[in-house]
């Protein structure tokens, strides 16, 4: 029964990875870039929540509701300034700029909050669980992560297939120049895509911080998990990203059941195996 527990916990963790990877997947799908500061932004969200919870009387759910719009606006602004400019400055520029941003964010966090490991006091929500039997209990926060991933991905799929702006997002992903001659500003459309990506990053970052402790240097390893989820699932497919996240979470959790020290390595090896034997990913698909 312990193995079953490991499988279920893996799916919950994988759901959170998928939610977190969604932003990376969207930004790649629409703009063909990898945001190397993705992991650090999630850590910024965690510290933002920590600061709000300790310094204000806002309850945690209110912090979540505040942080997500803040991140959306931040994402839009960052796209319209740094990222849009780097898209025009040569093929390496986006990578160099987001990598620079990653280093800057890490060290600003280090300077402001020190290297100490933190935990976010999430109250009864974080500690409660559904007890299925003696050995299996599913935490509310874990379930929340998985549900949030599925709801987010369904919502984004509906947005890109049903709405005027979502349709233009796919169009701009195909051909930004032609999108501009039908009246859309590619920079604005990209800004909206980045805003959505940042909203998911904030949500995922907050759930991460309710589940486990964090410190300013944890961003890059989170980025790698998100990246692996995207590649395992298949580039440009959000359902693929969900599946990739679940596969990664499952692998880490099951291996951890036998040897906790090998969990992360096992995840990396699954990623390399996908590269070797199924480089198109589990669900190869078109953009967004």
């Amino acid at each position: 029964m312990d193995l079953l527990n490991a499988v279920l916990q893996g799916l919950l963790l994988g759901g959170l990875y998928a939610l977190f990877a969604t932003g990376l997947s969207i930004m790649f799908g629409v703009m063909r870039i990898v945001n190397l500061a993705h992991g650090d932004l999630a850590v910024v969200a965690s510290f933002l929540a920590l600061a709000l919870v300790t310094n204000t009387f806002l309850p945690l759910w209110a912090v979540v509701l505040v942080a997500i719009p803040i991140f959306s606006v931040l994402g839009y602004a960052l796209q319209r300034t740094l990222i849009q400019r780097s898209l025009g400055a040569g093929p390496l520029a986006t990578l160099l700029v987001t990598f620079g941003l990653s280093i800057v964010l890490q060290n600003v966090l280090l300077e402001s909050f020190s290297a100490d490991t933190r935990t976010l006091e999430a109250g009864s929500f974080a500690t409660s669980a559904i007890e299925l039997n003696d050995t299996i209990s599913l935490s509310y926060i874990g379930l929340f992560g998985l549900v949030a991933a599925v709801v987010t991905i369904v919502a984004i799929q509906l947005f890109v297939s049903r709405t005027r702006t979502g349709r233009m997002m796919r169009a701009a992903s195909d051909d930004p120049e032609t999108a501009s001659v039908v009246g859309a500003s590619p920079a604005h459309i990209y800004g909206i895509a980045t805003a959505i990506a940042f909203a998911t990053v904030a949500l995922a970052g907050l759930i991460f911080s309710m589940r486990s402790s964090f410190d300013p240097s944890i961003g890059p390893s989170r980025l790698l998990f998100a990246f692996e989820a995207v590649v395992i699932g298949g580039l440009g497919s959000l359902w693929g990203t969900l599946l990739g996240g679940l596969a990664l979470g499952l692998t880490q959790s099951v291996v951890s059941h036998y040897d906790p020290a090998s969990a992360v390595l096992a995840g990396h090896l699954v990623f390399l195996a996908v590269l070797a034997f199924r480089p198109q990913g589990l669900i190869p698909a078109r953009a967004v």
Partner: protein, 334 residues
């Protein structure tokens, strides 16, 4: 007849290779005249020039941006540790460290080359993490806490410092001249064609993947040698430090600031980086914040880096690897 002449080298470049060797000769004499603290900090500078040149070779000429070259730094460092355990002098082990890194680069490239562009960059990072996690599990090599280098205990302190310095200098000179030699040959030509138009280059029969793989192996070898120098300098290795992504950050910042795609870029960038490091050494993490901001600004507003500015102002090229046109005044058409 057109008055345009195609040239490889400008007048300044005749001083390039010769000048480098002359500078190296002068630097080689330094341990006899300078304090050990000077030569010791120059070792750091040499390592920075080496790894940045390797990253520049890969990204600036091969178009392969990697955030995982620390994989080969670590492999090189551990090769020296391992060989020293088996009685090989650490200094002799440096070329073998380069070789090991190049050999491991073959299977690495088979996996990593399945990813393109930005995804290659991050994929290499994952691969570097795999190397770190695997080596952390080898108890004979010190496991996760690392261990010290054998075989140096009997050596005189002053001699050891000088030998380390010479080794670092030699690795740097070989790395820079190696890049120059590689890029002036067929590989350089193929990569230039790819940079201009990859599809046309493939259609014209250029084996693009082969050229990129050669550059990838060469870059790995250089990083491996640099890792060997690092372990001899520090006398110990620790997996989290030697496989740290910080090395990639250094390489990228140096090359971006110095000028990507010019062999002079990493040298100039490393000197600037090193100076900033000395200047801001008391500032702690602010140093990296400033550096990150400079690199971001440089990538956006000065994509050809400092050396690009030097060329614009003076036309000087020390290590020309491309071709350039000169219009002869008087014979050219108006």
């Amino acid at each position: 007849m057109s008055g345009v002449v195609v040239r490889r080298s400008a007048r300044s470049s005749r001083f390039g290779a010769a000048g480098l060797i002359a500078v190296a000769a002068v630097l080689a004499l330094l341990p006899f005249v300078a304090y050990e603290s000077v030569t010791s900090s120059l070792v750091t500078l040499f390592v920075l020039v080496t790894i940045a040149s390797m990253w520049n070779l890969l990204a600036g000429f091969g178009g392969l941006v990697s955030i995982g070259q620390q994989a080969f730094i670590g492999v090189g460092a551990y090769t020296v540790i391992y060989l020293a355990d088996h009685g090989v002098s650490p200094f002799v082990a440096i070329p073998l460290a380069a070789l090991t890194a190049a050999v491991l680069a073959v299977p690495t490239s088979l996996l990593a080359f399945r990813l393109r562009g930005d995804y290659f960059a991050v994929g290499m990072w994952v691969i570097a993490e795999v190397y770190r996690l695997l080596l952390s599990r080898v108890d004979a090599l010190g496991g996760a806490s690392g261990r010290s280098l054998e075989g140096m205990a009997g050596m005189d302190q002053t001699l050891r410092a000088a030998a380390t310095y010479w080794a670092a200098l030699a690795v740097t000179v070989v790395a820079v001249l190696g890049c120059y030699w590689l890029l002036r040959g067929r590989v350089g030509l193929a990569l230039t064609a790819v940079r201009d138009d990859e599809i046309a280059a493939r259609a014209a029969g250029v084996d693009v993947t082969r050229a990129k793989r050669i550059v990838f192996l060469a870059s790995a070898a250089g990083c491996g040698a640099a890792g060997g120098v690092l372990v001899i300098d520090a006398l110990s290795v620790q997996p989290n430090a030697i496989f740290s992504v910080q090395w990639s950050a250094y390489m990228i910042f140096i090359v971006v600031i110095g000028g990507i795609g010019y062999l002079e870029g990493p040298i100039l960038g490393a000197i600037v980086f090193f100076a900033l490091q000395e200047l801001l050494s008391d500032a702690g993490t602010w140093y990296l914040i400033v550096l990150g901001l400079i690199a971001m600004a440089s990538a956006l507003f000065m994509p050809r880096g400092l050396w690009g500015q030097v060329i614009d102002r003076t036309g000087m090229r020390l290590f020309p690897v491309g071709y350039h046109l000169e219009r002869h005044v008087g014979t050219g058409r108006a």
